[in-house]
């Protein structure tokens, strides 16, 4: 990568313009975030005196208040539901993607279209029948059931990714295992799965992020207030505390904290795999 071609071609005036543009766009992103993070630690009294400012000391009271007002139990519910759901989606996507890329599946085109097509169905449009189904089959309010529903609803994305991932895997590798007498199941478990661990981790993390953020299905599947997911609790926070005080800001921080940790732990896989799979195909 050399220097920016446009920049080299043109005058210093353009160079200044480009730096201004970069600085401004970074400011537009960073300033609101920094302000909200600061808000979460401002004392309530300082906030009501000067809602816009950033002064007035430092306190953990807002975090405590947000925790007591429900974001803590929301975190617990999400921590129960989301990893399980992400695991289900990842396993389904890996096995299905492997079969679609490397095995003989009858009506492969139709099967692929059906599975991948699920990602185009708006989740909000599924809300009514999913609610009705949970009511009929008696699993409304069950957290493990929500994990299964999440797992299935997010499988399509993973299948899309895993199919193109496995397609890039050389056939010879699998042929060799078969020549040595391994069955199809054994070939998948002993050869294909170990190779795809980084890919599996990356779709697991992406699934965690999507499910941690998901709102409408979580909202309808867990109607009991004390069992709502973190996203649902937060969404209601923001609108209950109308003035939008420090407690809402604190609730936001608590809600995204696990995601930030997950991101830094898994950053490596995320970049390589997602870009590789999505853009280079």
């Amino acid at each position: 990568m050399t220097t920016n071609s446009i920049m080299r071609a043109e005058s210093t005036r353009l160079k200044v313009a480009i730096w201004l543009l970069i600085t401004m766009s970074v400011a537009v992103v960073v300033v609101p975030l920094a302000w909200v993070i600061r808000l979460a630690f401002r004392p309530q009294s300082a906030y009501s005196g000067d809602p816009t400012g950033v002064g007035g000391g430092f306190t953990f009271d807002n975090i405590r208040a947000a925790w007591d007002a429900g974001i803590g139990s929301g975190l617990l519910t999400s921590a129960l539901v989301v990893p399980l759901g992400a695991m289900i989606a990842t396993v389904l996507a890996t096995v299905t993607g492997y079969a679609l890329a490397k095995e003989n599946v009858p009506f492969k085109r139709t099967v692929t279209a059906l599975i991948v097509g699920t990602i185009a169905v708006p989740l909000t449009s599924l809300a009514v029948p999913v609610f009705d189904q949970a009511l009929q089959f008696g699993y409304l309010g069950s957290r493990p059931a929500l994990a299964v529903v999440y797992g299935v609803l997010f499988t399509g994305w993973g299948v899309l990714f895993m199919t193109s991932y496995f397609s890039a895997l050389p056939d010879e590798l699998l042929e060799a295992a078969r020549c040595d007498g391994a069955g199809r199941l054994r070939t998948m478990i002993a050869i294909a799965l170990p190779i795809s661990v980084p890919a599996m981790i990356s779709i697991f993390v992406v699934n965690m992020f999507s499910m941690w953020s998901e709102l409408i299905i979580g909202l309808i599947m867990l109607p009991t207030t004390s069992q709502q997911t973190a996203a649902v609790v937060l969404a209601q926070f923001a609108t209950q505390y109308r003035s939008g005080g420090p407690v809402t800001a604190a609730a936001m921080l608590v809600m995204i904290f696990p995601m930030v940790i997950a991101f830094f732990v898994c950053q490596r896989w995320l970049k390589a795999e997602i870009l590789g799979g999505a853009v280079k195909g």
Binding site: V29, I119, V128, P129
Partner: protein, 312 residues
Amino acid sequence: MEGADLAVRRPPAQVSAVPRARRRRRPRVPAGLFFVLPALVLIAFFVVYPLLRLVYLSFTKYDGLQAAQWIGFANYLELVNWDQFRQFVLNTALLLLGIPLWIAVPFMLAIAMFGVRGSGPARALLLLPALLPPVVVGSVFRIILADNGPLNTALRSIRLGALTLAWLSDSRVVLVTVVLVIAWGVTGMGVMFYTAGLVTMDQEIVEAAILDGAAWRQLVWYVYRPALRPVTQFWSLLLVLLTVTSFFPWIFSLTKGGPGGASTTIDYAIYQSGLVNNDLGRAAAISVIGVLFIAVVLAAISAWRRLSRSER
């Protein structure tokens, strides 16, 4: 960069490169079927069956307690005659006008930042909002854009009071606000994809154009735009699948559909009819319209892709 659209239409492509010898030895029931069966069964139960049930419910009067009662097209007729619902569909369609902005801003930023020394950290910072759930972004801006919130106060204090707007409570402004807030949320991810496209792009075309004396506007329009078209198609599809299929979390956390329904989308109307007013039959009818709306948008996008492919 052919690859960008491959990612989406690849699965059916490379299928039957199985050597003949193996094909003869294959057992009668292909093993592949067993591998896809779990996903198929679960999708049939949790997606296909609910969709069929949805269509059925849209023709009934249903509150979730008493048995659904068949009423034919009554729900749909009611929606057609409900002035506000036409407004909701229009709102959703108007939000689609945000797509050019959600494409153009990351496109321009990625080109401007590409290869500039020290732009790496800037790009990482721009990616931050993409990691935040829509609910969080919406909640942040619900605080910041309040009538007497920090943005308006700050504008007034630097004597730009003329620029203050009732971002969330003026029915003529609120949709623009939603588009801008979504832009804030998705730009960084777009920059990431366009930068990946620039990395794999043949830089010699750019050099050649510069030698021929192309101005930066010409470079952007005649060199970068066609060369990055696969990224644009991929990114627009992703925008539709991630954002247009679910305006709900943005609307729910930012405006609650207000003021007076001015920012209520089709999917927010589903929530209101179904969960707030307990009219599941009507909510089902709105849901069916929501599915059809997405189908039309996706059809338009795939028509555009086919058109631009035959152009080349």
